[in-house]
């Protein structure tokens, strides 16, 4: 038995025929080819497969592809605009918050979701936002640095930055 679904990924409309037991992770990677969504634990524990589902971060490995019918999804491939990296991506590069890189797309999405919720996250909010993402290489200090830099970047020249300057 198979299902026909329609959904939007990174602004692009897709239609597909899927098996009902298929996970959203396998659907995104193997059917649609979004390989930036990483497969790792496949049990909802490590955060490597994090995507935005109608604006909220979820582990795509424990969501049914069928549940994405009618949804709008964002993967790491959808963040750069016109060849320019998203400020969160650039900040991860600038601080060296990337080592093997496997966990990075999931982190980037969790941080994007955080900075969509607030441009001025507290230390506690930062910790909460990435507590479901596991990195085994760099340690978390550089990742937290990257998040703070990205937050300042997104606040722009008017926000806290101009106050600090004056």
């Amino acid at each position: 038995m198979s299902l026909n679904i329609r959904l939007v990924v990174n602004g692009t409309r897709h239609r597909a025929k899927i098996e009902p037991a298929l996970s959203l992770l396998d659907f995104l990677r193997d059917t649609l080819g979004y390989k930036g969504v990483k497969i790792c634990c496949n049990t909802g524990e490590c955060g490597a497969c994090t995507i935005l589902f109608d604006g909220k971060p979820v582990n795509s490995c424990v969501v049914l592809a069928a549940d994405a019918a009618g949804a709008e999804l964002v993967t790491v491939e959808g963040l750069a605009e016109g060849g320019r990296l998203h400020p969160v991506q650039q900040a991860f590069i600038d601080t060296g918050a990337v080592q093997c890189g496997y966990c990075t797309p999931g982190f980037i999405i969790s941080v994007k979701a955080l900075l969509d919720r607030t441009r001025n996250p507290t230390a506690e909010e930062i910790e909460e936002a990435v507590s479901g993402n596991i990195c085994r290489c760099t340690g978390y200090t550089k990742i937290v640095d990257a998040i703070q830099i990205a937050a300042r970047q997104l606040q722009g020249p008017t926000g806290l930055t101009s106050k600090a300057r004056s």
């Binding site: 038995m1 582990n59 069928a66 596991i134």
Partner: protein, 290 residues
């Protein structure tokens, strides 16, 4: 595998009546998908996610009513829950990770009936009820009777959880939920303890005490003998310590990869004592003394 997306409760319940044990209900899916990948696919999957009107939190006649499909994150971010049921809020806040809280539902956490299910000890202590739909009609099942064993509830194969009804505790009461795990986030509790204390008018004696224990028996349990030892008594240090020891003796934990049974009993004693002390202080402004 047969697959259905019923659009009404009636349709869902009739599918469960037809398929019985062969059917698996899926809501958020954070546990069911893992089972499907690493254990086996059910013969029939009933996805209730598309039934409208099953995700809500509302106050009605002295209770909060929470729809079975309400995501844990909605409970965590609800000002109503934060204000009226801080004990439930605390367990929602400590639940897995943000990603999982966005996906997992409270109904799924209840029906999964894991002894360590994060919201279960708090809901037991709050004396919640499950409102369940069967083909012959609706039943109200108190949480104190709902759980039969790991993964087993009075819902059986044919009942569907529609709503959780949580009576608002007395305004004079305070609760505490304490979880013991190696890592803060994304970790299953070795022990979870929920405590709710209501002092009497004088602020010396406990009018009511409720203690719920998670992950230390085949189901989440109430430590009834420990509660009885404190009810109507002056909250003195020696008595609170004695009640914590009784609570540990009421638990029947197993040894597994997370910890040994003996260690779990020690933790039950410690967390029960702490929960009682913290709740008492929060509500009376005074330490448990003497």
């Amino acid at each position: 595998m047969d697959y259905f997306e019923p659009k009404t409760l009636r349709e869902a319940v009739s599918l469960l009546a037809r398929y019985g044990e062969k059917a698996k209900v899926i809501a958020g899916g954070t546990d069911v998908l893992v089972d499907m990948k690493f254990k086996e696919e059910p013969l029939c999957l009933v996805n209730i996610k598309r039934i409208p009107g099953m995700s809500y939190i509302r106050e009605e006649k002295g209770s909060l009513r929470i729809g079975a499909l309400t995501p844990i994150r909605e409970i965590e971010t609800s000002p109503l829950v934060r204000e009226k049921l801080p004990l439930l809020w605390e367990s929602a806040h400590q639940f897995a990770s943000l990603q999982i809280r966005n996906t997992a539902t409270i109904g799924g956490n209840v029906c999964r009936a894991s002894p360590s299910g994060e919201t279960l000890a708090p809901l037991l202590v709050l004396e919640a009820s499950a409102i369940a739909r069967f083909s012959k009609g609706e039943k109200k099942l108190p949480f104190t009777e709902l759980f039969l064993g790991p993964g087993k509830t009075l819902l059986g194969a044919k009942g569907l959880l529609r709503e959780i009804e949580v009576p608002l505790p007395s305004k004079e009461s305070r609760g505490t939920y304490l979880k013991h795990a190696v890592r803060g986030a994304m970790d299953i509790a070795m022990v979870g303890v929920a405590v709710l204390v209501t002092p009497d008018g004088g602020g010396k004696k406990a009018r009511d005490v409720r203690i719920g224990l998670g992950a230390v028996a085949p189901t989440p349990i109430r430590a009834k003998r420990a509660e009885k030892a404190l009810r109507g008594k002056t909250m003195a240090r020696a008595l609170v310590e004695e009640a914590a020891r009784i609570a540990a003796s009421e638990s029947s934990p197993i040894s597994d990869q997370r910890s040994s049974a003996e260690y779990r009993r020690w933790i039950v004693e410690t967390l029960t004592r702490r929960g009682l002390e913290q709740s008492w202080k929060a509500v009376t402004g005074k330490e448990v003394d003497g």
